[in-house]
């Protein structure tokens, strides 16, 4: 992203922060609605591709992970499951397991 756009998108800085607002917009359902993305785009004066591209990047915001939560497994977090000795096939980012779906291993 060019420096100019970067400066524009940061126009509102930390107080009312675009990234934070994306997270808040996802709190209800686990992913921001199209309407919420549109209104953030207008408020922060950024292009559609910026807000859509950002929201779809994150495990916690992207639509296909709607309704799921990530929890850290602390010392049980490891690429190889302690119970089965297999790598976790479902979540390459092993430390992210979800609330509504059971760990598959």
């Amino acid at each position: 992203m060019s420096k100019n756009i970067s400066e524009l998108s940061g126009r509102k800085g930390l107080e009312r922060n675009l990234f934070e607002q994306l997270g808040i917009a996802a709190e209800e359902t686990g992913t921001p609605t199209i309407e919420a993305l549109e209104s953030l785009r207008e408020e922060f004066l950024v292009g559609k591709s910026t807000v859509y591209g950002t929201a779809s990047f994150y495990d916690f915001l992207r639509p296909e992970n709607q309704g799921k939560k990530g929890l850290c497994l602390q010392w049980k977090c490891m690429p190889i499951c302690r119970n089965t000795g297999q790598t976790c096939q479902k979540y390459p980012r092993i430390s992210t397991h979800t609330k509504s779906e059971k760990c598959v291993v």
Binding site: M1, K3, S6, E7, S9, G10, G13, L14, N17, L18, F19, E20, Q21, L22, G23, A26, F44, V46, T50, V51, G53, T54, F57, Y58, D59, F60, L61, G70, L71, C72, L73, Q74, W75, K76, C77, M78, P79, I80, R82, G85, T87, P92, R93, I94, S95, T96, H97, K99, K102, C103
Partner: protein, 441 residues
């Protein structure tokens, strides 16, 4: 002094708790999860700081001392970044201090994404004021009036604890305007991340805070010149910043007297569930790895053949290398490994290394920001090759595979694509007997 604790996480749930989620929600029953915390050597980060008002006298003294004196103290301490790269903290703060501009930022990287690492989480949840005071002092030295704590979304409890600690500081007047009558202003912002490993990379993290797609930025300019919102910014790891109150109260020289000449101070090490006593251990830099494995972790629960130390981009250390290593940056580098954030994840005897390699490539493919092609394409092609070798008896062309990892190592823009080849090369070197059936000569 020896510190031993068992941390009980009342609101954190993990592992098989997922099966009990309905009951947990109904009964609000506290979890019985425990992990061990112990200091072996000098307790800097594991030390209880007691009464908060007494503790913040360190800040009061610091804010009444000139920036130059504090910076000199920091230089004396020799403290290096704990987030992975081991870069001098004093150098970064000095560089930010000298950069032009009225608005500057201190960003705390609390995105701790390395599987198996939870030492930052320990500090965030158990020693929040060591971190927050460290950030204010860093801000004072660098001339930054804003502190941003970017916390991994998988640590909801840590987000709440840090926000509460910030609120307390505001109530006590230890943050905000004219702190301790020093004329110095400092404000915090706590940001909850949304689940992307690459946001731990410092420039991706800055883009993330700005609400952009978290793609890695080309350097130069470095964050200390043009960082958050293009303003001079210092990004430091949680553990790095949490050392500052000790350095300022006890002196840089005292800190430098702990550890080794080039790796001063202590390091928190996270041990995973394959150890008999998983937990967080604070050791003086230079402590033999065998002490960590055998005395602190009490050995392994089952037969282990290798340990992946320092996250997915760290080195794969075969068990027989344990006696040659000590917990410090140079010892690991000399032996061709990487201390990184010092998380230890074990690979059991019966776990195929080839599958582990496939997992590493898949992890990188999933987490790649996509900005540069060696990583974006290389991680996926590598995973495909390994997948075919595991499932279809395909013989991987060694030359092609070496080309692939060398291209990733040399050509990647950041240490995600550039760091993956290290454990892969370690595996090819130390586990040749196990792997050679999958590769053509």
């Amino acid at each position: 002094m020896k510190i031993q604790l068992s941390i009980i996480m009342e609101k954190n749930y993990s592992g098989n708790d997922i099966d009990l989620i309905a009951d947990i929600k109904k009964s609000q029953a506290p979890s019985k999860e425990k992990y061990h915390v112990e200091s072996y050597g000098t307790p800097i980060l594991t030390m209880d700081y007691g009464d908060i008002h007494g503790y913040y006298q360190i800040l009061k003294t610091a804010l009444n001392t000139s920036r130059e004196v504090l910076l000199a103290e920091l230089k004396d301490s020799g403290v290096r970044g704990r987030g992975g790269a081991g870069f001098s903290m004093a150098f970064k703060l000095d560089s930010c201090r000298q950069a032009q501009g009225d608005t500057k930022f201190i960003v705390c990287n609390a995105d701790e994404g390395d599987p198996g690492a939870y030492s930052d989480r320990y500090i965030l949840e158990q020693r929040p004021h060591a971190l927050l005071m460290g950030m204010i002092i860093a801000g004072y030295i660098a001339g930054a009036q804003h502190g941003v704590v970017y916390i991994r979304g998988e640590y909801p409890e840590a987000v709440d604890i840090i926000q509460q600690a910030v609120n307390d500081l505001e109530t006590f007047g230890y943050t905000g305007e004219n702190i301790f009558g020093s004329g110095f202003n400092y404000r915090f912002k706590v940001i909850k991340a949304q689940g992307a490993y690459i946001c731990g990379e410092e420039t991706a993290l800055l883009s993330s805070i700005e609400g952009q797609r978290p793609e890695v930025r080309v350097r130069p300019p470095y964050p200390t010149q043009q960082g958050l919102f293009n303003k001079p910014t210092v990004v430091n790891n949680v553990e790095t910043l949490a050392n500052l109150p000790y350095i300022m109260s006890q002196s840089g020289k005292k800190f430098a007297s702990i550890g080794t000449e080039k790796s001063t101070g202590t390091k928190l090490v996270s041990l995973d569930g394959h150890f008999n006593r998983p937990g967080i251990y604070e050791v003086d830099m230079g402590t033999p790895l065998s002490v960590v494995v055998n005395e602190l972790g009490k050995g392994f629960r089952s037969k282990v053949k290798a340990m992946h130390i320092g996250g997915p981009l760290g080195g794969l250390v075969p068990i027989d290398k344990i006696p040659t290593l000590s917990v410090d940056f140079d010892s690991f580098a000399k032996e061709g490994f990487l201390l990184g954030h010092a998380s230890i994840v074990c690979l059991t005897e019966d776990f195929p290394i080839i599958e582990y390699l496939r997992h590493l490539f898949k992890f990188t493919a999933h987490e790649s920001c996509g900005k540069c092609f060696p990583c974006r394409l290389g991680s996926t092609r590598g995973a495909e090759m390994l997948d075919k070798a595991i499932n279809e008896g395909y013989q991987i062309d060694s030359e092609l595979f070496n080309d692939l990892i060398n291209t990733m190592e040399i050509g990647s823009l950041c240490a995600l694509g550039g760091g993956l080849p290290l454990p892969v090369k370690n595996a090819l070197h130390y586990f040749d007997a196990e792997l050679k059936q999958y590769f053509s000569a």
